[in-house]
């Protein structure tokens, strides 16, 4: 038996969210809503499961292949389930000058995994400039921004992970 993609409540959120999104696009350009639609799906499921991509494609009047093409182009979309906490550490020049390499090394040690790898709890990635160069080093945890990091701040952040 197929597992349902959404609970009834999720399905309702998906449906009404999609109606709102599509109200901002020309009626004959539904497929343009791909990014907001995928974001909506990911907000409900935590990632973009194949059945979800199919449903998005169908609702936007486009193909599964088109949905996959978009989903795999952008680094914030996950076509595989990521860890519970996705940590994106900026290691671009400005942040590196202010210690981003130390942040990354500390996280690798504290979380017990290498940058670029993942387990059920954590996905640890080096990311590119987060437009927070004056308040580096910085990182994002599940899209929440943390800046002007110090070892104490990093410890406090890691302590919040369950």
């Amino acid at each position: 038996m197929a597992v349902l993609l959404f609970s009834a409540e999720q399905q309702q959120k998906f449906d009404s969210g999609l109606v709102e999104i599509l109200s901002h696009y020309p009626a004959d350009r539904k497929s343009a809503a791909m990014l907001p639609a995928l974001r909506l799906l990911q907000s409900l499921k935590g990632w973009l499961p194949p059945a979800g991509l199919e449903q998005v494609a169908e609702r936007l009047g486009t193909t599964r292949e088109k949905a996959y093409e978009v989903a795999t182009f952008y680094v914030m979309f996950f076509t595989r389930q990521p860890g519970k906490y996705v940590l994106d550490v900026c290691t671009n020049l400005s942040c590196s000058l202010r210690g981003a390499e130390k942040v990354l090394a500390a996280l690798e040690q504290k979380l017990g995994l290498k940058a670029g790898s993942a387990n059920d709890r954590f996905t640890l990635r080096e990311t590119e400039c987060l437009a927070s160069c004056g308040t580096g080093p910085c990182l994002q945890v599940n899209e929440d921004h943390h800046e002007s990091l110090t070892p104490a701040k990093l410890d406090a952040l890691v302590a919040t992970f369950t």
């Binding site: 901002h24 020309p26 350009r29 497929s31 343009a32 809503a33 791909m34 990014l35 907001p36 995928l38 974001r39 936007l60 486009t62 088109k66 093409e69 978009v70 182009f73 952008y74 680094v75 914030m76 979309f77 994106d88 290691t91 671009n92 020049l93 400005s94 590196s96 000058l97 202010r98 210690g99 981003a100 390499e101 130390k102 942040v103 090394a105 990311t127 590119e128 400039c129 987060l130 437009a131 927070s132 160069c133 004056g134 308040t135 580096g136 080093p137 994002q140 899209e143 929440d144 921004h145 002007s148 990091l149 110090t150 070892p151 701040k153």
Partner: protein, 442 residues
């Protein structure tokens, strides 16, 4: 140092500056009223006379861009607001969205009126969760107050303003890639011409303007083009937001006169506040990481389009990154090169293949495995993507190729000895310990 009246940052730090009430308490939306009392063509004319130039990187005259929209076209006109701020070293648009979102929204409203545009899309970068939420609240306030919606502040002019969040792709800051992404596709830049003003979003005329650019529009309508033009230089009106980062005591966003020099920016106590103790400037990137680097003896230059162009570099997006004398420039350039390799969209061969090669060669040199001929090879690869000088010779559809090659050309030519000593010593003379001799992790 030249003091200048604040245009963009005047409300920053004021309580409630990101709310409609706060914005209105300092005269907000007065400029829109003034604009609506004029004919749309007059508004465009005013912006042309103001000498406002695009703040996203290219510095193109804004009024002229608006003027490219065909007059008698049967299709709708779109405004695409570029809030996909991703150029390394640049973080001004984030501050505008967080501190004064209605300034942008008023600029959008005036611009849409001038262009007879009824649909504006704000494309903000996916990583801007906080700023995007602030902006969405401001949009909702503007709807509730009758500023947007079926009427534009009481005038029969429908305007929908909608924020679309990106999902992590630097390339979508390139205007045609942004349009592709707004159309729900991967961000592959389009060949130009046709330019977006003629064939843009959904095949219709589209103006693409940066956040800071549009945030300047209300002041132009409120105070007049002559006043605005007078703030700047002969060819470039207004002030500039400068984003200062790297090896400097007071990193941050500063609203500066176009005549402020890089040296003043770094050393003035009210601006950068000088270098960390015991450190000297070695190199400065003046306009986002794409801009060719300057050496310490080239800092007596005004941070505006023409002056930096004369130095074979660019004002770009206003991102100034300072590197000090304890900073390895091979590693610095490797960091920059890696970014472009990561963010190349993969459409054009020279960029897709060349950017990882640049990165690999630089890493090899930094790790002490460099050999004779590596620098020549590196420069050859960079030239294959985009020869230099001058700026703009790239062999790719969009300017990402140029952006990836320019730092390589400029770092290697200006600091050749440092690159050569890495190869000769077969190690990095600065050591391989993690960076960060100042800042929170020092």
């Amino acid at each position: 140092m030249i003091e200048v009246e604040k245009v963009i940052t005047k409300n920053w730090g004021r309580p409630g500056s990101n709310t409609l009430d706060g914005y209105r308490s300092t005269g907000g939306y007065r400029a829109l009223e003034k604009a609506l009392a004029q004919a749309p063509a007059q508004v465009t004319e005013e912006v042309k006379r103001s000498n406002l130039r695009g703040r996203g990187g290219a510095g193109f005259p804004t009024g002229m861009k608006w003027g490219f929209v065909p007059k008698d076209n049967p299709k709708p006109v779109y405004l695409a607001v570029n809030a996909d701020e991703s150029e390394p070293g640049t973080f001004k648009d984030r501050y505008i969205l967080e501190n004064d979102p209605h300034l942008l929204l008023e600029g959008i409203a005036i611009t849409c009126y001038a262009l007879n545009c009824h649909q504006a899309y704000i494309y903000s970068r996916g990583e801007f969760k906080g700023p995007s939420a602030t902006l969405d609240r401001a949009i909702a306030e503007a709807y509730a107050a009758g500023i947007f919606g079926k009427q534009l502040m009481g005038k029969p002019f429908a305007l929908d303003v909608y924020q679309v969040r990106g999902a992590g792709a630097y390339i979508c800051g390139e205007e045609t890639a942004l349009l592709e992404s707004l159309e729900g596709k991967k961000g592959w830049p389009r060949l130009k011409p046709p330019f977006p003003a003629v064939v843009g979003l959904f095949g219709a005329p589209t103006v693409v303007n940066n956040v800071e650019t549009l945030a300047n529009v209300p002041a132009i309508l409120d105070r007049g083009a002559a006043w605005y033009a007078g703030l700047g230089t002969e060819k470039s009106g207004g002030t500039r937001l400068i984003c200062l980062s790297g090896s400097v005591n007071r990193p941050g966003v500063y609203e500066c006169s176009m005549k402020t020099t890089l040296k003043e920016l770094i050393f003035e106590p009210t601006l950068g506040g000088g270098m960390p103790p015991g450190r000297q400037v070695k190199a400065v990137i003046p306009g986002g990481s794409s801009a060719p680097v300057l050496s310490a003896d080239e800092l007596d230059v005004a941070m505006e389009f023409e002056a930096l162009k004369a130095k074979n570099t660019m004002a770009g997006s206003g991102g100034v990154i300072v590197m000090d004398d304890a900073t390895c420039l091979v590693r610095s350039l490797w960091r920059v090169a890696r970014f472009y390799a990561e963010e190349s969209c993969g459409q054009c061969t020279p960029c897709r293949e060349g950017t990882p090669w640049q990165t690999r060669i630089l890493r090899k040199i930094e790790e002490g495995r460099g050999e004779a001929g590596d620098l020549e090879l590196l420069l050859h690869v960079a030239s294959t993507i985009a020869p230099f000088p001058p700026i703009g010779l790239g062999n790719t559809i969009c300017a990402l190729g140029d952006a990836a090659a320019l730092p390589v050309h400029s770092f290697v030519s200006k600091f050749k000895l440092e690159f050569q000593s890495h190869i000769a010593q077969r190690k990095c003379p600065f050591g391989d310990a993690p960076w960060g001799h100042f800042g929170g992790f020092a």
